[in-house]
Amino acid sequence: MPDETTPSARLAAILAALFPDGHAVAVADGLVTGDGPFGEGRLAVIGIDSDTALGIEGACLLAGRVLDVARAGGGTPILVLVDSDSQRMSRRDELLGLNEYLAHLAKALLLADAQGHPTIGLLYGHSAAGAFIATALATRVLAALPGAHPSVMDLPSVARVTKLPLEKLEAMARSTSVFAPGLDNMVRTGAVQVTLDPAKPLGAQVAALIAEAPTSDTRDALGRERGGRPLAHDIAARVMREAEGRVVRGV
Amino acid sequence: MEKLSFRHATRTALPGTRASAITGVVASGNLEVLLERNLAPDACHVEIDTAINGYGEVWAAVVADFVARRQPGGLTITINDGGARPDTVSLRLAQGARLMEAP
């Protein structure tokens, strides 16, 4: 087992706020696992701390904990705390099948949720790319704390790939949320459903998220409402109508 | 990006009954051509969205030759162009016409 390490100050504060009576959440190699008393029952916790990149060992370990919760039953909700880098970029991780490990972690969260363990994501720092998809984005409800800064790719990298000047991209980023990094843009696309209020008790806000979690995936509807993804919801709905034969298709 | 639009009259309608067809892929040096049979039999409209500016005259010549050769009456032809060379454009237009002529 990796050695236990100290949680980041932000994580420690979050855990203290969630579990005023103490908890059994530990951090090792940037991976967060454990649980604590929450309301009438317990709240299971997994996560990534300190901007750690998610590799095959981490994904495997976190998925195992999620499946432990699912196997135990009882409807224990699962909180996924995220301050991560992107997926770990290495030849070894890819050689051993990083795509399977990341997908497996996401599937474990999706299965647990489907089996009555509401999954709540809480983004309190960075996250990007495959690590973001496998953790925070695989939950039923994704919330963020102010100051969180998710991104798919930073603007200098976008500039390199698209061969557009950085200044132009920065200008575009101010008017177009669809490609620009940052929490506000992820809120607008509907990926992050809500930004929590740091002035209010965190436990109550998380409890409310669990209680009010939508039963279906509403992210594209949110994206339309918020203007970050103007078309996604309508396109998906249109495909459904055509597939289900509810419209006469044009050519 | 540049938008171009050409209106041509044809002597005849393009044979066949197929209502629409698509050929090609938008990629660097390639293009997609969507053909729809929705005009009067002696009319052909060509609408182009091209990634490369300043080739209007070349497009005009390519389209005019295609119309003269294939007589694509009745068709609206819409093109998304990723910077294809004229020979590729001619080839895709001919491929599209052949698809539309299929019985």
Partner: protein, 310 residues
Amino acid sequence: MDWKPVALSTAPLDQSWYEASARARLAGLLDADTFEEFIGPAQRMMSPHLPLFELPRAFDDGMIVGRGRLDGRDVLVAAQEGRFMGGAFGEIHGAKLVGLLRAALAVKPAALLILFDTGGVRLQEANAGETAIAEIMRAIAVTRAAGIPVIGLIGGRAGCYGGGGLIAGTCAHLVISEGGRLSVSGPEVIETNRGAEEFDSRDRALVWRTMGGKHRRLIGAADAFVDDTIGAFRAAALAAIPTAPTFDLASLEAEQARLEARLARFGDAQDATEIWGRLGVNDPAAVPGLTTEAFDTLLDSLPERPHHAR
């Protein structure tokens, strides 16, 4: 190197999957003339975002979805066009697949097939693409839980990278060819971030033995390895329908055990050939040169069958 005569056939099913367009793949994969497209090109549902970047758009946004028949059975299909924007997920591209998966619950097809050909998220629409990938993965879980097999076919020019690799990992069954590559970070991305010592992206043999179809099949990341023909993918898709595992705790616990065992067994391996050797392959260096037939024979001769819980 193992070898065989090169086919000069012009029959549609003998054509290269790798070379074919997404539409040609669908036309050959499905029973003749059975494909019906949803939101076809004439509806011109094109990306509203690409013009901001002065980039040309495609009528189908690089994602073709619809229904058809596979040996008489109703299936839903989605195909990515790897040559348009590298097959990357943008807002419309992704939403079409989301809608198709959601529709499967009502349509109840015999299977839903995803023809992958993608470099991952489309940077110009990064947030929309990333979110769509998450929606797709959730919808696949729901679809599979309802007993509908979601089957991925990988053999295109762009491979299956980034979020596409995660979606593939969510499918019930994967068919892959030599040309197909399945991974999260691509070789160029790793080289850019970590240097050529970590991954020399120009060493094509290294790329293929790290991410290519044969390696993925040998370690159990894919369920079937097929020739690069449309006919071979069709046959493998058909064979997959009755065998695809459902989405439940038992499947995922088996996958957990499978992935833990892989880490324990191969976690210290430096190269794919080392893994293949430990799997019981006598001449690992010869594997990349094997024909599909010889590779299948090799798989049969190994002491253990690849284990596919997913």
